[in-house]
Symmetry: C2
Subunit: 330 residues, 2 copies
DNA sequence: TTGAAAGCGGTACCAA
DNA sequence: TTGGTACCGCTTTCAA
């Protein structure tokens, strides 16, 4: 691979000059610049990103840490982050922690050694003090799907509570009265918020019964098991609000197995709006703007990296009801 | 951030010595080593990966290029690649090309500038000459899901043709006689192979009719549209072999819309074995060992990176039938 | 407007 | 066993 020196020799100028034309910095004579560009073209020269980072300051690389790349929510997020980053000349390192705190720790070591410019974290295993530690090391961090109200941490979350209320209200409008809830892991903020939204809305109408709630992982399995449990407890339930779409799919399977017709006997609504939710029958869901979330997260991170002023607080994104087949009795 | 020099001062040794203990290379006195380790711990020293790469030779980074991160096949693949790479101390850069040749070209520039150690490519937009060019630049490449029989390119593919035959035979055993096929994009090797398998198997029994084939993208939409088309052409079809699981899901939706009962009236089988295929009803499919594929690809790549001898040819992976609900009349 | 040279944080060869 | 030091490829003063 040709180096900057090769170019400088071929163009008969100093490396400093070549560097200037590469970076469009400082004064360079038009003709000189042309000579240099010629030389670069001839040699097919591509500057070494590593050397640049070492000499300069930034690595033009950010990391995205997700807890479960198999959950379609995260590929969608990754896609948006990656697209936005690429447009700004940044490269994304994908870190999949598999909900494993140890793997996550390992990532932090690796990322530190790479002098990453910033991190987007969508993981619930992480503790706030770790985030603060990163910031003290001057590493900008944006958190997704988790919030720390009293800490100077920039985070992006959907209006989970509000979305849950939308969901419950929609079920009520469809004449459901015995509405169950499949809640996600309590240590996940989003899951808690959604459960709270459900609870508040049900309380308000005097419909709340604790045994209508069953918990599980944010996965198909978790939804399946929880649904089966609820059907046992309340064979007459007529509506289900699942903590996320994956759980809703699990619930769908359980309902199918238990011979409940969806939506005729039981109406079902999920949360997330992942593409997969267009199964048969298509899932009604509370959709998050996953792409917006990814793009915005990347945008905020870039601002922090460029030391532009950003308020480190929680930003909330709108959600909207996506009414499809599982709640409609046509 | 502390540097190797900070450590050397604190430990009262030279940077060379510190470097030796970091890399466990050369002779170092036990006690000296201990001193150095102490110093590293005190300073919380983490060597700069960039500097190491610049001075040494490799970047300990590989890239994974996928055409569509939203297709669950690829997150599964990415997960495996990432896991295997991490175990070997490598970092993975994820590149999502969205089936866009231009984006892909851009990636090549970026990756070259980063002096990536190797690339795993699961993209059909790429041309063999580009792969050869990479190899000429000493950049090891492993291709997934595409093959170049006459070129010295290491590639990993599932036994697509054989899998297709398995699928068709299974449908035949379930008494299907009018079996349609939703084929993927012809420029994707895997899609072609699967179509060929279907064709051969049908020909052999004198069941082949060209109009039983309809093509589309390897996505839900593509399957949906193709299925609708086929139903129009052959309202009496009783079996469907979809080019991949996503298309099968689309087909499921179309069949549902057309009021065909699956599996009672029409039996359906997909290809891939992605987790999502456990929708309702659960999809029978020809499963690839996606995780194996990812791990093996990474393994071969590592061998090439370490200049171990590897035969650059096409390696085929077994597939197996995963019989679930869409082909079973209980 | 251009060039010389001092780093950036390591590695590795050669002496001591 | 250890240390001195010349790079790796690029950026960035500082002078010319």
């Amino acid at each position: 691979m040709p180096t900057i020196r090769d170019v400088s020799k071929l163009a008969n100028v100093s490396v400093a000059t070549v560097s200037r034309v590469i970076n469009q910095s400082g004064y360079v004579n038009k003709e000189t610049e042309e000579k240099v560009r010629q030389a670069m073209a001839v040699l097919q020269y591509v500057p070494s990103g590593m050397a640049r980072s070492l000499a300069g300051k930034n690595s033009a690389t950010i990391a995205l840490i997700v807890p479960d790349i198999l959950n379609p929510f995260f590929p969608e997020l990754a896609r948006a982050v990656e697209a936005e980053a690429q447009e700004r000349g940044y490269t994304v390192i994908l870190c999949n922690s598999d909900y494993n705190a140890e793997k996550e720790q390992n990532y932090f070591r690796v990322l530190a050694s790479r002098r990453i410019d910033g991190i987007i974290i969508a993981s619930n295993t992480i503790r706030p003090d770790q985030l603060l530690a990163l910031q003290k090391q001057e590493i900008p961090v944006v958190v997704i799907d988790n919030q720390y109200p009293d800490l100077p941490i920039l985070s992006l979350v959907s209006k989970n509570r509000e979305g849950a209320k939308l969901a419950v209200r929609h079920l009520l409008e469809q004449d459901c009265r015995k509405i169950a809830h499949l809640s996600g892991p309590i240590d996940v903020t989003a899951a808690r918020e959604r459960s709270l939204g459900y609870e508040e809305e049900m309380q308000e109408r005097g419909l709340f019964v604790p045994s209508l709630i069953a918990g599980g992982q944010f996965q198909i399995e978790g939804g399946y098991d929880a649904m089966l449990l609820l059907l046992e407890r309340h064979p007459d339930l007529d509506g289900v609000f699942a903590g996320n779409d994956l759980m809703a799919v699990g619930a769908l399977k359980a309902l199918y197995k238990a011979d409940r017709k969806v939506p005729q006997q039981v109406k079902l609504i999920g949360f997330d709006g992942i593409a997969l939710s267009t199964v048969v029958p298509e899932l009604t869901t509370v959709a998050q703007s996953i792409t917006d979330m990814g793009r915005q997260a990347t945008g905020y991170l870039m601002k922090m990296i460029q030391k532009e002023p950003v308020t480190r607080r929680t930003y909330e994104l709108d959600v909207h009801l996506l009414i499809r087949q599982t709640t409609l009795t046509e």
